[in-house]
Amino acid sequence: MNIPQDLVYSKEHEWCRVDGDVVVIGITDFAQGELGDVVFLELPEVGDTATTGEEFGTIEAVKAVAELFAPVNGEVTEVNADVIDSPETVNEDPYGNGWMIKISMSDPAELDDLMDASGYEAMIGEGE
């Protein structure tokens, strides 16, 4: 199980790479493994508002559909068009080219509510 140390994680299995006030968001290796083959993604538009804990998109895999939940409040500043065209990238490179959106955070202090790698590892360990 790949859980990079330099990221923070939400309970809903999203990862966040923090870069100043902007976070890059994707789903974890664990999540893509559970979902199986990703077939397509519905993602928001640039300029949309993201609200912590609310749905910002959906991910359709062969076995199931899953909602994507915003881990922080803010504005969507970038959407990964490549991952929409090639959704299998989420399976192949969940922490790299499989990123989904960037959010400009309205309150970076919210990051404290997310888990570090060991916290996330413990959480998915409990579920097994």
């Binding site: 199986g36 083959d37 077939v39 397509f40 359709e60 062969v62 076995k63 559909v65 399976n91």
Partner: protein, 369 residues
């Protein structure tokens, strides 16, 4: 088979876990849903050969002097047309015409074999036993039989070196008793994928492991891969095969479910005949159809099917077909909307996606022989 708290492991369980399969509880059986990934496995069956553990399927033998008359009264197809060593797809119906199950019927020289859905084993057995008449004995062999399916255009190449049976002479929907890798087995040219292939019945758990291992090794040169239930589902859906519990159930008749070709109303009396005669006379109010969706969507069972604003049916099975490349689904719709080209809408989680009724199968380039 009674209530089971722990899902049953097939004799091949250790093989699946060693191969890194994701296991799921499927109607009380611990089965592999995928190994490398559903789409990858799906494509390999279409182009090469895949091997499936489908030991969860049920097997009933029908013995006795009156076995033929009994079978003929139970099933919808004409068992009288079956030659020795031939297989027939058929329905098993209630008096009201609804399906107890769909199954394959094998005619051996001295008995019949019914191969039924795992989810229906206790129900089918109960139904069959209720109607026993004359010299008939039903033997439930479900727990003894393992079943390995070899599917894909390279199936024969994978199997050839392991058996002395002349595979080329086994036509589609015929079988031979023989041996595979030295293990007594029934080799049946049948399947659930639209591809050429074999289903191999072995009534010895250790023998099943031997056959699995031998096929893995012998099939290596033709790229054999293990395939889970996930790809089994998308493979069968692309060729328009019904899945009991999704597309057919107790309240659907074979006539509504595109199974009229296995209902032989003229063969004499059988369970469900009267109801289906009446249904045929009055006309069907709904039919199971294939839908092709336009745009990005992943139709799933239960999604409403609309005509204008009115809900007129529900998706029974759906997927994005790896070999057809588009979202496909099956649904029951009113007969007047069931014709090819009929324009409908599938409500995919609140998003209305346009869909057209298309002819089945969705995928027509299979290697089935």
């Amino acid at each position: 088979m009674t209530d089971r708290s722990e899902p049953v492991r097939t004799p091949l369980f250790d093989r699946h876990t060693a191969l890194g399969a994701k296991m799921v509880d499927f109607h009380g059986f611990q089965m592999p849903v995928q190994y490398s990934g559903i789409q990858d496995e799906h494509r390999k069956v279409r182009t090469g050969v895949g091997m499936f553990d489908i030991s969860h399927m049920g097997e009933f033998e029908i013995w006795g002097q009156d076995a033929f008359e009994y079978v003929q009264r139970m099933v919808t197809n004409d068992a009288g047309q079956l030659k020795i060593f031939q297989v027939q797809y058929t329905g098993l119906c209630y008096e009201h015409g609804g399906l107890v199950d769909d199954l394959t019927l094998y005619r051996f020289p001295d008995h019949y074999l019914m191969v039924v859905n795992a989810s229906n084993i206790p129900k089918d057995l109960d139904w069959l036993e209720q109607h026993v008449a004359g010299d008939v004995e039903i033997r439930n062999r479900s727990e003894e039989f393992s079943l390995i399916a070899l599917q894909g255009p390279k199936s024969e190449a994978a199997l050839r070196s392991l058996t002395s049976s002349d595979l080329e002479r086994i036509a589609f929907y015929w079988f031979v008793p023989g041996e595979v890798a030295g293990v007594p087995a029934v080799i049946s040219r049948t399947g659930y994928t639209g591809e050429d292939g074999f289903e191999i019945y072995i009534d010895d758990p250790q023998g099943a492991v031997t056959v699995w291992d031998a096929l893995m090794e012998a099939g290596e040169s033709v790229g054999i891969v293990p395939v889970g239930l996930g790809a089994r589902d998308s493979l069968r859906l692309e060729v328009g095969y019904n899945l009991y519990g999704n597309d057919i159930w107790e309240e659907t008749t074979p006539l509504e479910a595109r199974m009229a070709w296995v209902v032989k109303l003229e063969k004499g009396d059988f369970l469900g005949r009267e109801a289906m005669m009446k249904q045929k006379e009055e006309g069907l109010s709904r039919r199971l159809v294939g839908l092709e969706l336009r745009g990005q969507a992943f139709p799933r069972p239960g999604y409403p099917v609309l005509r204008g604003d009115a809900e007129i049916g529900q998706v029974t099975s759906g997927t994005v077909g790896p070999s057809v490349g588009v979202p496909i689904a099956m649904a029951y719709v009113p007969t007047e909307l069931a014709g090819k080209g009929s324009e409908l809408i599938v409500d995919c989680r609140g998003r209305e996606v346009e869909a057209t009724v298309v002819g089945l199968p969705f995928y027509t380039r299979g290697s089935r022989k």
